[in-house]
């Protein structure tokens, strides 16, 4: 933690109170990153960055105003403080938003030390992300997307009750892609991973996964239009569930854009489904300790045995619904107060893979157009998908050029089968067993 940066928070906080705020809180985010990408055997892009932003939320006469600055000199901080108070004065009364956390200090320093690999080793690593793809398949037309990056970030929080929070993070990530062409057909797939050290990143895994799927889909074709059982990979299910994550948002409920707003304690999913938000889940890549209002994070059961048990709350939504904050306030230096989750964990069922994957089903490996093809209020969706038609756990054929459509709310209730093993998505932020959905519309 840098003491001089903490002083910037204290200055902005003081300036904001001096400017007329009754109370306020301040967030400072700082990040440094380094990234490389390769093309035609040479480093094509080399990027170094350092950035910072400080933001204040001022509350004056029950009105809220927000302002931020990327410059940390005193004049800029004073300007930001005045702008926040001015914005608050021109805003409308907001009786729900208050600075509620009265005491606490969270100082979380990453236990992971910066990777000490030489720059030459990183360059060599990046070059291999391209060359290994090209070397392993003569049909590779290009490796258009590849890269290695290293990121350090730190975030600071301070409110007018002197509640202070600090957390830093460090990680590396890499990815590569394979664009294959054979005759008039082409296909592409990419794979990436994250780690704490360069040696955590596995070039062979990224290369082989990219090539394996791109190669299969080169021969892929559409399915005959009809109704199929569907199995998502954990990554595609993360994306699918994430699109409809407003079902857990108290802020969306407050704004009448959460379709489950009036379904608390109602059955919204198959009775075997339990979903919990676990900020410090032991297998998760990132651990989360405090929210954007200075509350300590804690486990939260969202759905239990299919029944909706809670929404994500911050202090404002908690005031509105006359409940208590769940410690899920989310706010960046530039943004307004919202809510957000951390690591979602879905409980396992009882079926082995052998049982869950019996008979014929469409396994979805890649989704295109999920956000644009979904209505998060009605739950209707229609997205393009790539994957495999499988039978009894074995691939029968590669599938591309199909659309999958249905209704998310109905699918949650109609989950047909739940596996007995918890799997994680690629960045270890979501954990769930394999799920099988019955009779989903697929057009080809």
């Amino acid at each position: 933690m840098k003491i001089e940066l903490k002083k910037h928070l204290e200055s902005l906080l003081d300036f904001t109170i001096d400017a007329g705020a009754d109370e306020c809180d301040v967030i400072l985010s700082k990040g440094d990153s380094f990234s490389l990408s390769a093309q035609n055997g040479e480093i094509e892009k080399y990027k170094v960055s350092g950035s910072q932003v400080i933001g204040v939320r001022a509350i004056a006469n029950s009105r809220v105003g927000i302002s931020y600055s990327e410059s940390l000199d005193f004049d800029s901080l004073k300007f930001a403080a005045k702008a926040a108070v001015e914005n608050a004065r021109n805003s409308e009364e907001n009786p729900y938003e208050k600075i509620t956390v009265k005491k606490g200090e969270h100082i979380i320093s990453s236990p992971f030390k910066k990777d000490e690999s030489l720059i030459e080793e990183k360059i060599d690593f990046c070059l291999k992300l391209e060359s290994e793809v090209k070397k392993n398949d003569s049909r590779v037309q290009a490796v258009p997307y590849n890269g290695l990056s290293e990121s350090t970030s730190s975030s600071y929080y301070l409110n007018s009750n002197k509640v202070f929070g600090y957390q830093d993070e460090y990680f590396l990530s890499c990815f590569t892609s394979a664009l294959l062409k054979e005759g008039s057909e082409n296909s592409m797939h990419y794979k990436g991973m994250i780690g704490r050290k360069l040696t955590d990143l596995n070039i062979d895994y990224c290369v082989n996964e990219s090539l394996k799927h791109a190669s299969q889909w080169l021969k892929g074709s559409a399915l005959k239009t009809g109704f199929y059982d569907i199995v998502f990979t954990t990554d595609t299910f993360t994306e699918f569930l994430g699109t409809f994550s407003n079902i857990f948002s108290a802020k969306s409920a407050m704004e009448k854009t959460n379709p489950f707003a009036e379904k608390l304690n109602d059955q919204v999913a198959n009775s075997k489904v339990t979903i919990t938000d676990c900020p410090q889940f032991k297998d998760a890549f990132f651990q989360n300790y405090f929210d954007s209002e200075g509350n300590a994070h804690k486990d939260l059961t969202l759905i239990e045995n299919g029944v909706l048990k809670s929404f994500y709350h911050n202090s404002a939504t908690a005031n509105y619904f006359k409940t208590t904050s769940t410690g899920n306030a989310a706010r960046g230096a530039r943004s307004a107060l919202g809510v957000g989750g951390t690591v979602k964990v879905m409980s396992s069922g009882e079926l082995t893979d052998h049982e869950l994957l019996s008979g014929e089903y469409f396994e979805i490996h890649s989704i295109q157009g999920m956000r644009s093809g979904a209505n998060s209020i009605s739950g209707d969706f229609s997205f393009a998908a790539t994957g495999y038609l499988c039978r009894n756990g074995e691939i029968i054929s590669a599938v591309k050029g199909v659309t999958v459509s249905g209704n998310f709310h109905k699918m949650l209730l109609d989950i047909k089968l739940i596996g007995d093993t918890i799997l994680s998505n690629n960045d270890k932020s979501f954990f769930a067993p394999r799920l099988r959905f019955e009779g989903i519309s697929v057009a080809g």
């Binding site: 290009a142 258009p144 704004e255 854009t257 393009a384």
Partner: protein, 459 residues
């Protein structure tokens, strides 16, 4: 913003370390946002973005870094770090006399002294009109955003350019509710201009349009799936061309051969009825620019003429790698990104048919009145787009509203299947995300008829 002497010292450092070229991009942006929800102002935000990006080019390699600092040593150190891998000692006596080029300025709607409370009253007015437009409207969300981007560009060839870019946009979403059923309608116009834009808007029309769209979708049936002809109406319908053809024509994709069109210049890549343009010079349009982010005056670029591929969109690195001349298309979201070739205002040029002629020639199919978003894989050309508001067509007559329709296909194929072009060209504002971040772009087209395309919906 950046002292010219210091700019010269940075460029001198880069060239003396063997860089073939160096440019400095300085940005200071004022950002304001007001949000309304549940008929109340939800938040009022403002801020200042400031940063400096430095790019060194060695051969065809671009090295890029940025910082929020204006300190001399920070900027010189950043330049040295970037040069570390490729540096070679070069004797130079670079002493630039920075020269600006005089360029014609596109017109922008003004930014009158409208107060914050006046801005807020516009939002309340639109909220009330939308709620009054239909009894089934249960919620209205409106966002008003304004950004004024001041930029300076210095380069090692002595170029010094400045620009002020105002952007104003209003986003409105209405939600219709009937029992358990909910649906949304939306309209998000934007201009390269100031707050006077609000005075040009017909709020009654916007309110009725979004309310009617939401209510129509509320009662829509699931769209049947299958391959069928589709008429896509004007304005935001142009998002298909933007995604399926525009992105693969950026040298950012072409230089990596990650474009299905990378070797097709001079060839017929579309139906002969189709001509398309990317034009950064249109007054007031959301994607217009005086200069691009390398300081080059922007221009009108004919992409396709009567089906033949005429030009790619190119920036400095694109020109170095592909030989395609720069088109004033280097763009970036902010100083945090190196520039890349990107679209500006991209549209299909109008033809001679009216909408009724397109529908009647289609017979049975889908009429996509309003498109949602979508994406494309430039390498394979595979795209997908959602239909925001669609209707089944029988014997050329518009019938029931349908929901959940998605159009998917390959860029190469759809370009050849666009067989009729309407005469009702219109534009729509959007934010395009790609390698250099999210930039304001306009998509546009008249109504078009696609002879066959896979429509995803209910089996």
């Amino acid at each position: 913003m950046l002292d010219k002497k210091l700019a010269n010292e940075i460029l001198f450092e880069a060239i003396s370390l063997g860089a073939d070229f160096c440019d400095i991009y300085v940005e200071k942006s004022k950002v304001e946002t007001i949000s309304l929800n549940s008929s109340r102002i939800k938040d009022v935000r403002s801020g200042i973005d400031f940063g400096i990006g430095i790019r060194l080019i060695y051969g065809d390699k671009a090295l890029y870094g940025y910082t929020n600092s204006m300190e001399k040593m920070e900027l010189i150190n950043l330049t040295r770090i970037l040069a570390e891998q490729y540096k070679k000692k070069v004797e130079t006596s670079l002493a630039l006399e920075f020269k600006s080029k005089k360029i014609s300025q596109i017109a922008s709607i003004g930014n009158s002294d409208i107060t914050l409370s006046q801005k807020i009253s516009y939002l309340h007015k639109l909220d009330k009109l939308t709620r009054d437009a239909h009894s089934k409207i249960s919620q209205v969300s409106i966002g008003l955003s304004f950004k004024e981007q001041d930029i300076e560009i210095f380069d090692s060839e002595g170029l010094y350019m400045t620009d002020k870019r105002p952007y104003c946009r209003i986003s409105t979403t209405s939600i219709a509710k009937d029992g358990d059923k909910q649906a949304t309608g939306m309209w998000n116009p934007g201009v390269r201009g100031g707050y006077q834009f609000l005075e040009t808007l017909d709020f009654n029309w916007i309110a009725e349009y979004t309310a009617k769209q939401a209510v129509n979708i509320l009662n829509a049936k699931p769209c049947p799936a299958g391959v069928m002809p589709v008429v896509i109406d004007n304005g935001f319908g142009g998002v298909i061309f933007h995604e399926a053809c525009g992105h693969p024509l950026e040298t950012t994709s072409v230089e990596k051969k990650a474009s299905v069109f990378w070797d097709k210049k001079g060839e017929m890549i579309a139906h002969e009825a189709l001509s398309a343009v990317d034009d950064g010079t249109i007054d007031n349009l959301w994607g217009s620019l005086n200069i691009d982010d390398e300081g080059m005056p922007t221009q009108r670029t004919q992409l396709i003429k009567n089906g033949k591929l005429e030009n790619f969109l190119s920036d400095r690195i694109g020109e170095i790698k592909t030989g395609h001349q720069r088109t004033g298309s280097a763009r970036r979201e902010s100083y945090k990104y190196a520039p890349a070739s990107r679209m500006r205002n991209t549209y299909i040029e109008p033809g001679s048919f009216n909408l009724e002629e397109l529908l009647s020639s289609m017979g049975d199919g889908l009429y996509a009145k309003s498109m949602g978003g979508g994406s494309v894989n430039p390498g394979t050309g595979e795209f997908n787009f959602s239909v925001q508001e669609g209707y089944l067509v029988k014997n050329g007559k518009i019938l029931d509203a349908v929901r959940g329709a998605t159009l998917i296909g390959k860029g190469e194929e759809i370009m050849k299947n666009i067989s009729m072009i309407g005469n009702n060209l219109d534009y729509a504002a959007g934010t395009c995300g790609s390698v250099s971040g999210g930039v304001p772009v306009t998509v546009g087209q008249p109504a078009i008829k696609v002879d066959k395309i896979l429509v995803g919906g209910q089996a």
